[in-house]
Amino acid sequence: MNTLRIGFLGLAAAVAGFALSGCFASQPAPECNITQTSGGGLGLGPYHVQLTKIDGTGTCSEMKYINVGMQRSRLPPAMGTTTPVTTEFTLNLKPSPAVDMYNGLRFFADYDSANDCTKYTTDDCSECFNEGDALPDGGVAGARDNLCVLNPDPVYRVDPNDMSGTGQLGTAKLPQFPVDGVCTPTDFAGMEQNFQEEVVDLVDGGTEVFPALLVKTEWTNFEILSTAKAPGTVWRAKLKYTEGTCVANYDAFAFWPEIHCGGETQEIADDGCDPKENLNTQCFPETGGASTISADGGCDTGFILVPPRVLGSGINPEFKPKCDMDVGVCKPTVTWDELKN
């Protein structure tokens, strides 16, 4: 009988113990992760990094945003094995400024001063304008007859010591797990290019000189949210940006994905940021370069903003995105703390 009593008590104690253990167990925190920027597969784009100037003068202090592509990689495995090391990760970063310069998207040779259409082939000269005609920049063609708008002549910047541009990339150490919902990468390296001077021959026979240029991004106070609401899709940091002699410091707030909205007519406004709305039926501007809204953002009902997305803006509804008409991007309206908790 005593044995039986002990049995009942044991059962009751066990049940109570398990009940309590259940109450206290919670879901594990997500691993430190980021959204992999990839040109293939699903074609996931870079982060949109919103910049708020702290200090600095010059053109490099006027940036509203840049893009940063990211990938998470692992440490090399032990010799002779392929078993992944899981104690920490490597964060790979690729900020847009130096990439755009390298790819010829930032600097262009100037117009021909003569503006004589007859001198050029149609390859060079896209359109000719007579006095009084509307110009693409919104102005009106002036007294100079036969104004010729030359196609942009991109200038590809190269670091002579890094012809392949690997210095545009950076790395940092990324811990495996967050602390209080935040992952803090450390030991940033790279993201520096010493572009050489470029002398470009202009169409009319003149030249234009693009001086040597140091381009550098330096990150501090880097924090990546690692919560269920934002599993690596939001981060913030201090950015020190150097472009030649210009140095500027920014507060950076980054989010993924970058979905464009607004456009010339700005009629779609916030609706375009709806995570669930089918974009195919709406009018959206087609974006051109990486850091600007295309000037001729027309409506293309068949255009999908972020291939191969089928439906919606693809933005996490938790972001409560709204269109920022200034830069034409759907931005989160929630705060860092709201996404963290």
Binding site: G10, L11, G40, G232, T233, P308, V310
Partner: protein
């Protein structure tokens, strides 16, 4: 993370030690009231003794002051009750049938001694209505198994116990077993001698053994009490045979000859030259089982062994499609077309001398061994092991697996299962306190490997099947059979490459105004693929389910009779899996044919473009689960029984690296039932029951999502120096030589450069060519709720004739929360949550609403006949089928693609796959005794059911084929009714009292009905957007009604693109879907019901 895991395990260990001091319970119950025949008053202190061949020894109880007695913890079987008390005449009542888990009431009147006469023997049958519970379902005993032809061998040739579930109302066969009450087979609890045999990783039933080892099966479709948990479906509770004091056994053999097996109609396919047909060649099983005493009245044994062999012949022939004269030299290429028959199929002819046949052989060796030890009159111990090592071999592949050594595509699959059970049952306090405790271990070893002996880890050098990559070709412009296989030279010119055929360009000709490819012998195109090379995906897995269960049953008297039961069970699941792709990867051709990418390849990046390939990945996720319950069955005034219980469960899943992956807590399942016996004689019941069921999550999710699989890929050009590559590579053309897959396909100069400076989505990609896939561990919603469903059952049952009951039930089930993985950003980041709440609040709630009414009549075997008839009307609606996706067969419990993307969700509501409005099941058997020793049996079975709903599937831009519901679920109409009539005829001859020999013949589908059981529901293999109604469309009604083309014109006819008489479907980029995108086989049959087959059996019983 690790700390919490250890804390949890430590808690478990402590609890296990403490709880090992407590035991509990029994299964079936005989209860009743003993009254004085003269006065009608209850008679206390009557000694009630139960005996049965199924019982080792006797069971004795004494009636209480109210004259009540209760014999609990009884095994299923036929019992005799003997009642004795001073001053009353002894009383005996035989033939009391007790099924597994059932309570039968036997009220008895004792005659006082004063009345003259001897022992009273009651000949009338006692009632069979289960007055103690609200469970719905059916018991399947030996008579049913012996007399009814209903179990066909499974793929291993084993007539396995799981098939016993099929006879219960509201049970329907699905892809992986039998679904109960609108749920799917992986949601059931499968118990063999109290041990759960559910596959730890996938939830399906993992065990198999022949029904000859089964004493009785209880198929519980709903209404069950708190003692059963970890199931949102039903319970299949199987009790195996045990030995008794007499030696009994049997030897048997069964043979299903292929020559007497019908052949189903050929399945035609207008997209492929390959025609494959399988037919049964032979199925043979035989075996022996015997049980008896080792020490009389003390120790008994039961052993059995049953090998089974199944051979299937598969024949592949090649056929050439017939082309019209315009396709030949001198014809008008613009009018080149296929020739069609009157049914609209493309005419074809078999290419001579291209037929190949092979046999697939499956062998299983089932066994059982059981010891039962009676410690004393009140305590017994049993130890059993049952298993079935199974292997299946296919000698070669029809497609040439070139350059893999001498390997010819042969495969070996093995699946070994073992169930070990140690069980103690005891009674204390005059059997008022019952203890049932068991330890169980269910183990599975399985593997899928090539037959050349090469293993996971073989060098990737192309010399073995495991060391050679597989390559999948899928070019839209069809590859021809002759591009891969050598055909007899004369047939090539005659059929595949007729005169006028331009071998360099292939005759790509406009047909019916669209650019359909007119090719006589296509191997690819229209969704068809062709695979060469090594084995492909290889797995080796060991799965364990270790269980401890204990329960205490206490019988007490307090305002009626109570059966209190408290129990505790602990389960540890382990899934040790080793996965690899032969040669390290699978290459797949792009539809254009210009590139090959790593379709599958385990590995990761250690920096941009720096890939580390893993030849295999091994992971061992685990899970701990704890359940505890308390329930009371309260018999009030012998009139009403109230069953009330509460079950608590928790489950913790750990990833392959040992860290906690997912925590499911505080699962509280109330179960309340009320039963009213208006006859008060155990001959009737009206009942109602409410239950909540929680899912036990199979741990495949802990491997695939919580551990995280990492893969990567490169895209490589077929031709050297493709403009999109850096150049310098030799090109990658495995169609010419499979060896290129491991050699020049790996030239980095072939890799596509994916950084497009003008594309904002790729310009900032840190990698130039590598594509990392898989984001590591999947995030779990911190507010995740466990998956559960609720059930309401009401019903009534009345015994209209001896052993015969009519009844009706109504069952309602619906889902509460469902666990699935979701992505709010269209496949970039995923999380595991509940659709419709928490992080998944932007997704629709997962719904599965089941309503069913069943009318039935059951007649237990007596007076030489038995019958079981049921009709079920049911409705199953919603957007969630369950733990697997019937549309694609995907079995990834809780991480299926159902809710993955918002863009997948339109049109998902409707009749679910298992929805069968009408289902009739009729089983009957009659025994004819010709002489004292010669008898005949005749059994008949009819199963008829209305057809499954059909859908319009399209290909999703990201997820691929059949993931888009083009029109609302179920719009495609329904399959036709399916009828099957089986018969069993047997003759038995009794040689001596205990020796009987029996010959039987089972005829399945004796009228060879050939109803279509599946059709091709793929409307298009092209990418398509779901059609969502925005305004009325004249074609929509036709399409939604399931009418086939041409009534339902869903695509734009290019010759009249503005026609309003079409339902415009669009591709994701906004273009119109055209008829060229349609699957020519849409709605054509892809399966027929199993043809007639005959099985001969012989059995000698001793």
């Amino acid at each position: 993370m690790r700390a919490s895991a250890w804390l949890f395990r430590a808690t478990l260990l402590c609890a296990a030690l403490v709880s090992s001091l407590a035991f509990a319970q029994g299964n079936s119950v005989i209860t009743g009231t003993v009254t004085d025949a003269a006065t009608g008053k209850p008679v206390p202190d009557v000694v009630v003794t139960a005996t049965s061949p199924a019982l080792q020894g006797e069971e004795i109880v004494v009636t209480d002051s109210a004259g009540l007695y209760r014999l609990a913890q009884l095994p299923a079987g036929t019992f005799t009750l003997r009642l004795e008390k001073e001053s009353y005449k002894p009383f005996s009542r035989a033939d009391i049938n007790v099924r597994v888990d059932r309570t039968v009431r036997v009220n008895i009147q004792l005659q006082p001694e004063a009345v003259t006469g001897d022992t009273i023997v009651v000949v009338g049958k006692p009632p069979t209505v289960d007055v103690g519970s609200t469970t719905t379902g059916i018991n399947v005993g030996k008579e049913f198994m012996n007399n009814i032809a209903f179990i066909q061998p499974n793929g291993s040739g084993v007539r396995s116990f799981e098939s016993l579930a099929s006879v219960a109302p509201q049970v329907i066969g699905d892809t992986y077993g039998y679904g109960f009450s609108g749920a799917q087979s992986p949601e059931n609890l499968y118990l063999v001698d109290g041990v759960s045999t559910s596959d730890p990783a996938f939830g399906t039933n993992g065990a198999q053994f022949p029904i000859e080892f089964v004493e009785e099966a209880n198929v519980i479709t709903g209404g069950y009490q708190a003692e059963y948990g970890r199931a949102t479906g039903g319970v299949l509770n199987v009790v195996t045979k045990s030995g008794s004091n007499e030696f009994h056994g049997s030897v048997w053999g069964n043979w299903t000859p292929g020559i007497l097996t019908g052949v189903s109609p050929t399945i035609k396919n207008d997209s492929s030259s390959f025609q494959v047909q399988s037919r049964l060649w032979n199925t043979v099983d035989f075996g022996a089982e015997v049980g008896g005493p080792i020490l009389k009245d003390k120790l008994w044994f039961f052993v059995g062994f049953a090998p089974s062999f199944n051979r299937v012949q598969t024949t592949r022939s090649l056929r050439a499609f017939k082309l019209n004269a315009d396709c030949a030299a001198g014809g008008d290429p613009n009018n080149c077309d296929f020739l069609y028959d009157e049914d609209g199929y493309v005419q074809s002819e078999t290419i001579p001398d291209t037929e190949r046949s092979r046999f697939t052989d499956t062998r299983a060796f089932s066994y059982i061994a059981k010891l039962t030890f009676l410690i004393n009159a009140d305590n017994n111990l049993s130890l059993s092991v049952v298993g079935s090592p199974t292997s299946s071999a296919t000698p070669f592949s029809f497609t040439p697996r070139r350059s893999a050594g001498n390997w010819d595509g042969g495969t070996v699959d093995s699946n070994n299962t073992n169930t070990l059970s140690l069980r103690y049952q005891g009674g204390f306090l005059d059997k008022h306190l019952l203890v049932d405790a068991s330890l169980g271990w269910f183990h599975i070893d399985n593997s899928s490997m090539p037959d050349d002996g090469s293993q996971i880890g073989a060098p990737a050098d192309g010399s073995t099947a495991a060391g050679t990559p597989a390559v999948i070709f899928r070019r839209t412009r069809p590859w021809m059979v002759t591009d891969f296989e050598t055909l007899p030279s004369n047939t090539v010119a005659d059929t595949c490459e007729p005169a006028g055929f331009n071998a360099s360009t292939r005759p790509i000709v406009d047909v019916r105004g669209t650019s359909r490819y007119v090719v006589a012998c296509p191997a690819t195109g229209a969704g068809q693929t062709y695979t060469i090379g090594g084995y492909g995906f290889m797995t080796q897995a060991a799965l364990d389910r270790v269980q401890g269960r204990a329960s205490v049953t206490y019988l007490m008297q307090a305002l009626g009779h109570h059966i209190w039961k408290a129990g505790l069970d602990i389960e540890h699941l382990r899934y040790d899996v080793n996965k690899a792709y032969s040669g390290g990867f699978i290459l797949r051709e792009s539809p254009s044919g210009n590139t090959y990418s790593d379709y599958r390849q385990y590995g990761y990046l250690i920096g941009p473009d720096q890939a580390v390939r893993q030849e295999n990945i091994r992971s061992t996720p685990t899970s701990w689960g704890i359940g505890a319950y308390l329930q009371d069955s309260w018999s009030i005034m012998d009139l009403v029984t109230l069953n009330a219980g509460l079950r608590y469960e928790t489950q913790q899943l750990f990833a392959g690296d040992g860290t906690l992956g997912m925590s499911l807590n505080n699962m509280l399942s109330p179960r309340v039932g009320l039963i009213y016996d208006f006859t008060q004689q155990g001959r009737s019941k009206l009942y109602a029951n409410y239950s909540r069921f929680y899912e036990s999550v199979p741990i495949n999710i802990a491997d695939r999502a919580l551990t995280g699989e990492n893969q990567y890929q490169f895209i490589r050009a077929r031709a050297p120096n493709h403009p999109a590559t850096p150049g310098g590579g030799r090109g990658c053309n495995p169609q010419v030589d499979i060896n290129q897959a491991l050699d020049q396909c790996q030239d980095e100069g072939n890799y596509f450069i994916l950084n497009d400076p003008t594309d904002p989505h790729s310009a900032y990609d840190p990698s130039v060519s590598a594509i990392p896939l898989g984001g590591g561990k999947t995030t779990v919603d911190p507010n995740l709720q466990p998956q559960s469903s609720d059930e309401i059952v009401v019903g009534g049952e009345y015994e209209v004739i001896t052993d015969g009951r009519v009844g009706a039930t109504y069952t309602k089930r619906y889902m509460n929360q469902v666990i699935e993985d979701m992505s709010v950003d269209e496949a970039s980041t995923y999380f595991i949550g509940n659709p419709g709440s928490g992080l998944g609040s932007s997704f629709p709630k997962a719904t599965r609403d089941y309503d069913a009414v069943t009318l039935y009549f059951n007649k237990a075997f007596s007076d030489g006949w038995m019958g079981q008839f049921s009709y079920t009307w049911s409705s199953l609606r919603g957007n969630y089928n369950g733990l697997f996706r019937p549309e694609t067969g995907q079995l990834d419990p809780n991480i299926n693609s159902d809710f993955d993307l918002v863009s997948l969700l339109p049109n998902r509501n409707g009749p679910l796959d298992a929805d069968r409005t009408h289902f009739i099941k009729m089983y009957a058997a009659k025994e004819f005794q010709v002489t004292g020793s010669l008898g005949f049996i005749l059994g008949l079975t009819y199963e008829g059911r209305s057809g499954a709903p059909l859908n319009y599937f399209g290909s999703h831009l990201i997820y691929g084929p059949d993931e888009v519901f083009v029109l609302p679920r179920g719009s495609g109409g329904r399959l036709p009714w399916r009828h099957a009539i089986n018969a069993k005829a047997g003759v038995s001859y009794r040689i001596t009292k205990d020796n009987v020999v029996q010959f039987t013949a089972d005829i399945f589908n004796m009228f060879n009905f050939q109803a279509v059981t599946s059709v091709d529901e793929t409307l298009t293999n092209g990418e398509v957007m779901p059609f969502v109604t925005t305004s009325s469309n004249p074609q929509e009604a036709a399409c939604l009604s399931g009418n086939m083309l041409p009534h339902c014109q869903m695509v734009v006819d290019p010759s009249d693109p503005t026609s309003p008489a079409v339902l415009p479907l669009q591709t994701p980029d906004g273009a119109n879907l055209t008829s060229a995108d349609l699957n020519p086989n849409f709605k054509r049959p892809t399966g027929y019901q199993a043809p007639i087959s005959v099985r001969f059996g012989i059995r000698f019983t001793f």
